[in-house]
């Protein structure tokens, strides 16, 4: 099904650019053409299809679903809904306050906020088509587990005292449900709007991601990774996570980089730990969350994610060794 992209890349190298197959440049160009075309085509298709159903799932509705459920179910529901509900990261603050106002525990709310950037339906489909379903399942399951564990710890240690006081005083008005055009044309128009919006927002991350992936693929020798990033080196996982922290990319943009790393023989745990660290922790989001969380909570949040990504890395390297 995806062979067409490989053929397109073959054709670009041999017929359009007349490069010698097997050279470093040809390898890099092949990777770039194949991944960019494949990712953009998939992206448009998935976002469009999801856009048709998007009106069925908004953060306002998610709050309604989680409200009143028991804690245990709340965590699980929160991470599943976090994975499939898209929202602009600038909404995290009102979303956080809105969830708390609805009586949802802080831990359940944080579980939702942790999982949301880490796992999303677009990245899952693209990850599956590029790296296979084993890696995808492992990624989704570990991502959701980190969200659930974070939530449980936050509630267990009563960290709600580290939420800014004014947050508890905010009273929310009647939940607004903006009118929706439910006709077929209305939905199609809305879905195209989503495609334009999301592609416009993340295309640059994808190009940069594929660019880095191509460079790794074509120019960095395998021995370099074998020497420094193999499972035998106990520092490889922490270094990968620490390198990923200040970097930020959308989940879709990091996939080509991960693909190139896996192809170079970097162990799966190290690669997943790196991906999560790049995608799950972003400096802008921390600055935004400071509006509602006291510094102690932010420190816990950052340290918890860093440690769990490292644990994920070691654990998976052990399992898939």
């Amino acid at each position: 099904m995806f062979e067409i992209f490989t053929r397109l890349a073959d054709w670009t190298i041999t017929d359009v650019l007349a490069l010698e197959p097997g050279t470093k440049l040809a390898d890099a160009v092949h990777f770039f053409v194949e991944d960019t075309t494949k990712i953009f085509v998939l992206l448009v298709v998935i976002v469009f299809v999801m856009g048709l159903f998007r009106t069925m799932l908004s953060p306002e509705k998610v709050r309604g679903y989680i409200e009143g459920t028991s804690r245990g179910i709340g965590y699980i529901l929160a991470v599943i809904l976090g994975a499939v509900t898209p929202f602009c990261s600038c909404s995290s603050v009102p979303l956080f306050i809105g969830f708390l106002e609805g009586g949802i525990p802080v831990g359940v709310t944080m579980a939702f906020l942790i999982t949301s950037p880490l796992v999303n339906e677009v990245a899952v489909v693209i990850l599956g088509s590029i790296m296979g379903w084993k890696m995808t399942t492992v990624y989704v399951v570990t991502g959701m587990s980190v969200g659930i564990l974070g939530g449980i710890l936050i509630d267990r240690f009563h960290m709600e005292r580290w939420v800014e006081d004014y947050v508890w005083k905010i009273r929310m008005g009647t939940m607004a449900q903006a009118e929706v055009d439910g006709s077929v044309t209305g939905r199609v128009r809305y879905a195209w709007g989503e495609v334009r919006d999301i592609v416009g927002r993340i295309w640059l991350y994808i190009i940069i991601g594929v660019g880095i992936g191509s460079a790794l693929h074509g120019y960095v020798p395998q021995e370099l990774f074998a020497q420094y990033a193999s499972a035998d080196n106990p520092f490889a996982v922490p270094v990968a996570v620490l390198m990923g922290l200040p970097l930020y990319s959308n989940a879709t943009g990091i996939i080509p980089v991960a693909e190139a790393l896996i192809a170079k023989g970097v162990p799966i745990g190290t690669v997943i730990a790196f991906m999560m660290s790049v995608v799950g922790v972003s400096p802008p989001e921390f600055i935004m969350l400071r509006k509602v969380l006291k510094p102690q909570m932010l420190i816990f949040f950052g340290v918890f994610l860093t440690i769990s990504f490292m644990m994920v890395g070691y654990l998976l390297n052990l399992i898939f060794a």
């Binding site: 602009c88 009102p94 903006a178």
Partner: protein, 78 residues
């Protein structure tokens, strides 16, 4: 005079939304007043969690993203 409020934390999408309404209003020759609401208590007071949201004459007409241009035209002409 139509009174719009754009609800949002001041992120890029919120600025784009306010500008979209302003540009459309100018193109259609409709007099509007646009206010950006960044206070979280006020935003949640309108019952909006996903920003940007749009309030027209006191009523929430949109939430959770940049509105479609023809939706904006609809508000201005309606």
């Amino acid at each position: 005079m139509k009174s719009f409020k754009v609800l949002g934390s001041g992120c890029k999408n919120c600025i784009t939304t306010a500008k979209l309404i302003e540009d459309k209003a100018r193109a259609l020759g409709v007099a509007v007043e646009i206010e950006k609401v960044t206070d979280m208590a006020a935003i949640l007071g309108f019952g909006v969690m996903s920003t940007p949201g749009v309030v027209l004459d006191g009523k929430v007409v949109h939430a959770g993203g940049i509105p479609q241009p023809d939706k904006v035209t609809g508000w201005l002409e309606g």
